[in-house]
């Protein structure tokens, strides 16, 4: 088998891992202002993803690195072409990382209010923009004969791409709500179950519309199979969330995301970046690294990816318990104003 085609598939696998995993932690962040009415409940939500969100995000870094290694032309054209949207995504991801990690460090309402804004911003922006970016890849973008993107920023904001952004936003909201229902008990559990069930219907409608548009306008016959799987998955999500079968609902929404990636990559094939003028499309073959580099990377991936799956799976097992407001300890953070507190401890220590 041609290694470059294998790597096209592996890049799809990495994106699948990223979108399935970070998808639900985006969703949790996006639901924060709606479900977490008080700080305790917001903390329940954040702590369902606490131990795992960082590992989820590495799937993105790996997808980026692997694209660089296996398809330098793709990496170069896409990242320079989508410059400003990517900048926005980077800013969002940066503030999101520090927000999670620093939230508990300072125990004041103002601090937490700013941090929560950062989490919400950091979750919505990439959840929507990844959809916009991938929809543009499906639709095709304006490349010149040297495979340089020359369409400009606003061309990326076409209706099909924007609907793609709404679709991924909704998919991740639903995915996150289901995850919360699966991982919590008590008040958040009730609320997220209800929200998941409502969201699932909206998602079904929007995602189906986008998928059919993508299929009819930009794809090939065999990806109807992916559309069908996605449709079944979306219906299963609607049913399972109504029946409160959270595990099944989660599997179903994960299947929907997998099917979406298959549809996206399937419609791009045999290009990595279809161009509006097909003669300028960047094909898998033209974008790929040499067989030697691909062979090296194949060995590395074959050896390491199963290990990653094992220890990340183990992490989810270690933190498998549902949590509720009762499990959240008091704030352990300090306050920036330490003068009085310090004097107290110092005098207490002396006496």
């Amino acid at each position: 088998m041609d290694l470059s085609i294998l790597w096209f598939g592996l890049i799809a696998v990495l994106w699948t891992g990223y979108l399935v995993l970070e998808g639900f932690d985006f969703g949790v962040g996006m639901l924060l202002p709606f479900l977490g009415k008080d700080d305790k409940n917001r903390r329940v939500m954040i702590n369902t993803i606490g131990p795992v969100w960082d590992g989820n995000e590495v799937w993105l870094l790996t997808a980026g690195g692997a694209t660089f290694a296996a398809f330098p032309e793709w990496y170069a054209t896409m990242f320079s072409g989508f410059y400003l949207p990517l900048l926005l995504i980077l800013v969002a991801l940066i503030v999101r990382v520090v927000a999670f990690e620093w939230r508990g460090k300072i125990n004041t309402d103002t601090w937490r209010a700013w941090i929560d804004r950062a989490i919400v911003f950091g979750s919505y922006v990439p959840a929507i923009l990844w959809g916009v970016a991938f929809a543009n890849l499906v639709r095709g973008v304006e490349l010149d004969a040297d495979h340089q993107y020359v369409g400009g920023f606003f061309a990326l904001l076409n209706p099909f791409a924007l609907l793609g952004g709404v679709t991924t936003g909704l998919l991740f909201l639903t995915h996150g709500a289901i995850f919360l229902a699966l991982k919590t008990s008590g008040e958040i559990h009730e609320k997220s179950s209800k929200v998941a069930s409502t969201l699932s219907v909206i998602t079904l409608v929007v995602a189906a519309a986008w998928a059919i548009w993508a299929q009819l306008a930009f794809s090939v016959a065999w990806t109807w199979a992916a559309v069908a799987v996605a449709a079944i998955g979306l219906v299963a999500v609607v049913i399972a969330t109504r029946l409160r079968r959270e595990g099944w609902a989660f599997i179903a929404s994960a299947v929907v995301i997998v099917a979406a990636v298959v549809l996206i990559f399937g419609s791009m094939y045999p290009d990595v970046m279809p161009a509006l003028n097909p003669a300028n499309s960047l094909s898998i073959e033209a974008a790929s690294s040499t067989p030697y580099t691909l062979t090296v990377m194949t060995w590395v991936a074959a050896f390491l990816t199963p290990l990653v799956l094992i220890y990340q799976g183990w992490t989810y097992w270690v933190f498998r318990k549902r949590i509720s407001a009762e499990h959240i300890p008091e704030h352990a953070g300090l306050t920036f104003a330490q003068v009085t507190a310090r004097k107290d401890t110092a005098s207490a220590a002396r006496s």
Partner: protein
């Protein structure tokens, strides 16, 4: 400024900024792992308290290092897409390996460590922080493999047809002699940073407590941390010197222009002197440089272990590079910016004296079981903490600015099939306006983050080691659920965001 200059400023600023946090993480993670190991082995609660104290500082720092690292994975493609096209076949591989082999381990096991205190048996929990520590160091190896290839592009051939660099030997890339010198140099610098950090904070606290009359606590808690920090600094300092020397000697061979510029060595000289102070007219014109203080013959000795050996000067090298690598163009200046290379090299070395001062003072004042309330120790401690951070920054500025005008530098040793001028690597489709926007965004965002990071670090350092720390691990008999009380199996989390 054009898009090229803006892109260079952005890359330089975001990378140096990222590397403020990285060395502390690389060095502190193993030190925290050592502290926790001592606790697990001796059951001495002091070490648990120290683990938690320095662990919190490590996590505050870790977050911003991870956050600013995301940019690095993307901006080769964003701002340096022509570079990426040219080198991707070889340069992308270590980056992908870094993500697969190191980032996954780091992030996953860090999550387990942070949240796993009451979930994992002690030894497994300890193994998690060791996994993090090893992965941060492994990550340094891969990214330095990528960087060393830019300095010494081995294992690669040029494909005339595609105009691209193509990897022919991954083992050559991963055992590049430039890498084998740069990796220990970077790692020992990271350990020096972390050792200075630990010793500095602990020494400051020790002095404070002794002056408050709490000698017992100073002796019990902070003195051991001072010692751990000092030992780390001493070992790292020796390693830093040895690896730096090896790296310097390689650089004389591989990138003579970098070293000639670093010494402002204008013409080829036998028995070249090591310059301690030179002043130029800042026009990057070698003739305008006056050397004030010099040690005769030392530079030749450092380069070749021979006080009288010949060293190539700037003028000669410019002629040689134009002939060999000019490809017909005669107006390219192959000599890096003299002022920046000269001073960043000296500042890198000079800043390390901060750690040396702390190590020696602390060692003397805590000798034979002593604790010290000497306020000069506290002052030196605070002044020393930032110095290795600055040394690392200057080191990178030196090595990257010294590589200019190349992004992939040909080596006159014969490893010169692959070469690319920096100006040819920049993205063609990214407009100056776009880079201005991104640069402005990064400056604002990174400034806010730096302020928050500094205030958090300072606040947690000033809070000091807590007086007690509970062993919440599941293998502690006190933490077994009470069979008569079902609620006891469902306690609150030991840690939550």
């Amino acid at each position: 400024m054009d898009a090229l200059d803006l892109a260079r400023w952005q890359f330089g600023a975001t990378t140096v900024y990222h590397f403020i946090f990285v060395p502390l993480t690389i060095g502190l993670a193993p030190l925290v792992a050592i502290m926790q190991t001592i606790w697990v082995r001796t059951q001495n609660e002091t070490w648990l308290r120290l683990t938690k104290f320095f662990g919190k500082l490590m996590l505050i720092n870790f977050a911003i290092g991870v956050a600013t690292g995301i940019v690095q994975e993307f901006q080769f493609g964003m701002n340096w897409s022509e570079y990426s096209r040219f080198v991707g076949d070889v340069f992308g591989a270590p980056l992908a390996m870094e993500a697969l082999a190191a980032f996954f381990v780091e992030s996953t096991f860090l999550g387990l460590w942070i949240f796993g205190w009451d979930k994992l048996p002690k030894k497994i929990h300890l193994a998690c922080i060791w996994a993090v520590a090893l992965a941060t160091n492994l990550s340094a190896f891969f990214i330095l493999a990528a960087n060393s290839w830019m300095q010494h592009p081995v294992g690669t051939t040029f494909n005339l047809e595609t105009g691209r660099a193509e990897m022919t030997d991954i083992w050559a890339v991963l055992s590049n002699n430039t890498l084998l010198a740069a990796f220990p140099h970077t790692i020992t610098a990271a350990f020096l940073t972390a050792g200075t950090f630990v010793a500095g904070i602990a020494a400051w606290w020790m002095v404070r407590l002794v002056r408050q009359g709490q000698e017992e606590k100073a002796r019990e808690v902070y003195r051991p941390a001072v010692q751990l920090g000092v030992i780390t600094m001493l070992i790292a300092g020796v390693g830093l010197g040895i690896s730096g020397h090896a790296q310097g000697q390689l650089m004389f061979e591989q990138q003579p222009t970098k070293m000639a510029a670093a010494e402002a060595l204008c013409s080829t000289t036998d028995g070249a002197s090591f310059s301690l102070l030179a002043v130029g007219d800042l026009t990057n014109n070698c003739e305008g440089v006056t050397h004030y203080i010099e040690i005769p013959g030392l530079l030749s000795f450092l380069a070749n272990n021979d006080f009288s050996s010949e060293l190539r000067g700037v003028d000669d090298l410019q002629a040689e590079y134009t002939a060999r690598y000019g490809d017909g163009e005669t107006d390219v200046n192959y000599i890096p910016d003299l002022t920046i290379t000269y001073w960043s090299f000296r500042l890198m070395i000079g800043m390390a004296l901060g750690s040396a001062a702390l190590a020696l003072t602390a060692m003397w004042l805590t000798r034979q079981g002593r604790v010290s309330g000497n306020k000069w120790l506290a002052r030196i401690a605070l002044w020393a903490i930032p110095t290795p951070f600055l040394a690392s920054a200057f080191g990178w500025i030196f090595t990257e600015m010294g590589r200019q005008p190349w992004v992939v530098a040909p080596n006159p040793t014969g490893i010169d099939e692959i070469r690319l001028l920096t100006m040819r690597g920049v993205s063609e489709v990214v407009s100056p306006t776009e880079v201005v926007i991104s640069l402005a965004v990064f400056v604002v965002l990174y400034t806010v983050l730096a302020v928050a990071w500094f205030r958090l670090m300072k606040r947690y350092a000033v809070e000091g080691v807590s007086d007690t720390e509970k062993d919440v691990s599941p293998d502690n008999p006190d933490n077994q659920p009470d069979p008569d009380d079902p609620a006891s199996a469902d306690r609150p989390l030991s840690f939550a965001y």
